[in-house]
Every structure is written in structure tokens, then in C-alpha cells.
């Protein structure tokens, strides 16, 4: 079939071209699949995040309903009940902090809010549906000077000293600082 050197050279070139085309096709395909994989991963993360937010909303719906009805004390009891199944859950910590703030238990509220942020930074992320930046800014505006002055006046008051540290921590996180 290959009669002379020209045929051999031509055959070799044809094979090389075919190999190149196959190589290009395969290479392009793998880049595309990598791109697809990256898209899939981002999508999965987004879906998982939305599912988590939706789960938290469903889980703590009874607490939210009681708060809306002005039943903060009953909402705390509901949280106590839920905390038996989900101890040390960040959103429960956040809600407990919010309720205690409304009930004027300021050092305890601050401790729970700071703990929630330590467990989940989404509460200070302004793009997150879980964001509570406004609440933290309001808390700092209303309480930082008061707690600072009370802690200075009463250095033995460990809860006040701890509350002051927590307020500084929240202030730092709002300013963009990390753990």
C-alpha cells in the first residue's frame, strides 16, 4: 500500500494531524468539564447554603412566632427546649442574644451574640441573609460607652469586663477583622 517514501511521509503527516485533532478535542473537552465542575461546585454550595438558611428558618419558626407575638419569655423557653436537640447551635445563640437584649439582660445578651458570631461569621456579612450588622451597630452605639464606664467603676465585675471584651470583638468583626 505504501509504495514509496512520499506515501510513507504523507501517511505519517495524516496520522500526526489526526492525533493533533484528537488531542485538541480531548484537551478542550477537559477544560470545559473542569469549568462545568467549578460551576457545579459553586451551585452546590449556594444550594446547600440556601437549604441551611431555610432549615434554620423552619427550625426556629416557633421561636420567631412567639417573638412576633411579644412572648419573649415563652420564646426563651422554646429555645431551651430546642437546645436539648441542637446544643451550641449558632443561630440559637444569636436568637437567645436578641431576646435577652430585649429583656435588658445586657451582659448575657452580649455574650450570646459574640458567641454566635464566633461560631458563624455570616452574622456580620452584609451580603448574607443571616446578617445582623444593624443589630450589632445599634448594640455598640447604645451599650459600649455605658458598659465601659460601668466596668471601669467596678473592676471586680467579671461579667461586665467580659461584656466589654465581647463588644470590642463585635466592633472588630464589623470593621472587617477576622478571628
Amino acid at each position: 500500500m505504501l509504495k514509496d517514501r512520499f506515501d510513507i511521509l504523507l501517511g505519517g503527516l495524516l496520522l500526526a494531524c489526526a492525533a493533533l485533532i484528537v488531542g485538541l478535542l480531548l484537551g478542550g473537552g477537559s477544560q470545559a468539564s473542569q469549568r462545568d465542575l467549578a460551576v457545579d461546585k459553586a451551585l452546590e454550595q449556594e444550594i446547600a447554603y440556601q437549604a441551611k438558611v431555610s432549615f434554620l428558618e423552619r427550625l426556629y419558626a416557633p421561636v420567631s412566632e412567639l417573638r412576633t407575638a411579644g412572648q419573649n419569655e415563652a420564646a426563651l423557653l422554646k429555645l431551651d427546649e430546642l437546645s436539648r436537640r441542637y446544643p451550641d447551635e449558632a443561630h440559637g445563640e444569636l436568637l437567645r442574644g436578641e431576646i435577652l437584649l430585649q429583656l435588658q439582660a445586657i451582659p448575657e445578651a452580649t455574650a450570646h451574640l459574640a458567641r454566635a458570631v464566633r461560631m458563624n461569621g455570616d452574622y456580620v456579612d452584609q451580603h448574607s441573609p443571616l446578617s445582623r450588622r444593624d443589630l450589632f451597630e445599634q448594640l455598640l452605639g447604645e451599650q459600649l460607652t455605658v458598659i465601659k464606664s460601668r466596668a471601669k467603676k467596678n473592676p471586680s465585675a467579671t461579667a461586665l469586663q467580659a461584656a466589654l471584651k465581647d463588644l470590642y470583638y463585635l466592633q472588630g468583626r464589623l470593621a472587617g477583622g477576622c478571628e
Binding site: Q71, N72, E73, A74, L76, L77, K78, D80, E81, S83, R84, R96, L100, L103, Q104, A105, P107, E108, N154, S156, A157, T158, A159, L160
Partner: protein, 298 residues
């Protein structure tokens, strides 16, 4: 012969020299208000008392005291230090200038607590106005979060506990606060005056659920159980006593009857805080409005 006698005398003196420890230390008494029973009070507070003795090198003795007897026995000079509810602290502060040492932390509100008025969720009672003409159960009369807070709350809502409800009762014996909750739960009473802390603990322990009751009203928060010192106790000792309490952590242990016990956990306490006497003003206002000791007028 003389040598023998000398040896005998030395042998007799030896135990006295060897037993320098607790008996040679100054002795002071801490009066602990009974919550349920003397046995429970001593079981809770003896390890803490031992810890304070070791830390301050004083032989503190724990004395269980009934609530209603406390102010009188304190006035008679029976105890150098006191551990009582915040209303009994206010009474002794007003009458005998008891000095504030530290306030106990327990539950959601930390150093503070509150009183709630509850009804069964299926009772049809939805607001405080609905309790007129109903049967009610209170906690003991000197309990700030089991009686005073709710009594004051009702007065502020225009309900006179002496005139506007069918009748009210106070349980006898121990575990009065739990009896209030169960009294309402099992339908013997329509409405109950429960400390917020007891509702919280009973919910956490699974004895009740949050859906069993409707909270018709809750008082503002005010300080919880309190350590005090008699006015003639040395100020340096009071300061050291306070410091020992506020520095206690959940990890601190005491060697008690051959066991290493966690001091705070044994006493069912989360910690201590150095509050100011002015933090008790909320409670004072409640006592004045409810015409209760130490501001009672006839």
C-alpha cells in the same frame, strides 16, 4: 524518771501540735437560706464553704436557715456572712446595713432573675385580664421571683390579688416552686406565679415543655441570690471573700470528704458577679409598691 515524765508530757502534747489546722483558724458562720430542705442546702453549700475556708484560711461553718427566720437570726448576730434570696438581702440591708458581697449567676439571665405568671395553654386564659376570678397559686411570700414580682405585676396591671381573684394559695413543705408549676399543669389551679428560672430548668430537664403553658406576664429582671457580710466584718476579709467568689470557675475543685468536687457545679451555680447595691433598686421599688418588707406599712 524525770526523762520518762518529760517524754510522757511531750507525747501528750504531740496531738495538739499536730492538729494545728482547722481548729486554730478563726471560726465564722455563713447562714445559707434553705430553698427546699436543710439536707439539700448543706449538700449544695458545704463544698463551697470548704473551698472558702481553704482559700481564706478561716474555719467557715455552714448554717442552714429557714427563710422567715433569717432576718431575725441575722439581727441576733448569728452569722458573719449570709447567702439569701435578693429580697431577704434588701430587708437585712435596710435594717442591719448588711454589705453586698457578690451575686449568684444561674440560668438565662445570669445574675438576674424574673417572675412569671403562667396558665395552661389549653385553659382559655390568654391575658392577665383573664385571671380575674380564677384560682391562683403563688410561691412562698418572701420569694422575690415566686411571689413579690408577680404580686407587683398584677397590681401594675390593675389586678388586686387580694380582691380580684377567686382565691390564692401558697404550697407547703419543700419544692414549692415546682409545686406551683405542677399545680397549674395538673389543673388544681388556673394560674400560677412561677420563677422564670424554674420554668427554664424544668424545660431543660424535660419535666415540662414550652408548649404546656402560656406566659401571661413576666416582671422586669432583678438580682438573684446574694452573698452579704455583716457590717462589722473586717473590710479586707469581705474583699477577699468577694474576690474568691468572683474568681471561681467551673473548673475549680475542692477536696471534700475524700473526693475532688467541682465547687460551682456542687452548689448548682454558674458563677458569681460583683454587682452594686443600686442594681437592687428595681426590687426595692417592687417591694414598696406591693407593701412588702422592708417597706411594709400598716
Amino acid at each position: 524518771m524525770i526523762k520518762c515524765r518529760l517524754l510522757s508530757v511531750l507525747l501528750l502534747l504531740l496531738p495538739l501540735v499536730a492538729c494545728q489546722s482547722p481548729t486554730d483558724r478563726p471560726v465564722m458562720k455563713i447562714g445559707y437560706m434553705n430553698c427546699n430542705s436543710e439536707a439539700e442546702t448543706l449538700a449544695r453549700f458545704k463544698p463551697l464553704t470548704k473551698y472558702l475556708s481553704d482559700r481564706l484560711n478561716i474555719d467557715f461553718q455552714a448554717v442552714p436557715v429557714d427563710t422567715q427566720d433569717f432576718p431575725e437570726r441575722f439581727a441576733a448576730g448569728e452569722f458573719e456572712f449570709t447567702h439569701t434570696n435578693s429580697l431577704v438581702y434588701v430587708i437585712m440591708r435596710e435594717n442591719q446595713q448588711l454589705e453586698l458581697v457578690a451575686t449568684e449567676k444561674r440560668g438565662n439571665y445570669g445574675t438576674h432573675t424574673a417572675g412569671a405568671i403562667i396558665a395552661r395553654k389549653d385553659s382559655g386564659i390568654k391575658t392577665l385580664a383573664d385571671i380575674k376570678g380564677k384560682r391562683m397559686i403563688f410561691g412562698p411570700q418572701l420569694a422575690p421571683s415566686g411571689f413579690l414580682a408577680q404580686y407587683d405585676l398584677m397590681l401594675r396591671e390593675g389586678i388586686d390579688p387580694e380582691l380580684d381573684i377567686a382565691y390564692y394559695a401558697i404550697p407547703s413543705g419543700s419544692f414549692k416552686h415546682e409545686k406551683v408549676v405542677y399545680g397549674v399543669y395538673f389543673g388544681q389551679y388556673d394560674v400560677g406565679a412561677s420563677p422564670a428560672l424554674d420554668l427554664e430548668l424544668m424545660t431543660k430537664e424535660g419535666k415540662i415543655t414550652a408548649d404546656d403553658f402560656v406566659i401571661l406576664g413576666q416582671s422586669p429582671i432583678f438580682p438573684y441570690c446574694t452573698f452579704g457580710a455583716r457590717k462589722d466584718v473586717d473590710q479586707e476579709l469581705v474583699k477577699a471573700f468577694r474576690q474568691a467568689l468572683v474568681e471561681l470557675t467551673q473548673a475549680d475543685t475542692v477536696d471534700y470528704q475524700g473526693e475532688q468536687l467541682k465547687v460551682l457545679a456542687s452548689a448548682w451555680i454558674d458563677g458569681f458577679e460583683a454587682l452594686e447595691d443600686s442594681d437592687y433598686n428595681q426590687l426595692r421599688e417592687m417591694a414598696k409598691r406591693a407593701n412588702m418588707p422592708p417597706y411594709q406599712e400598716f
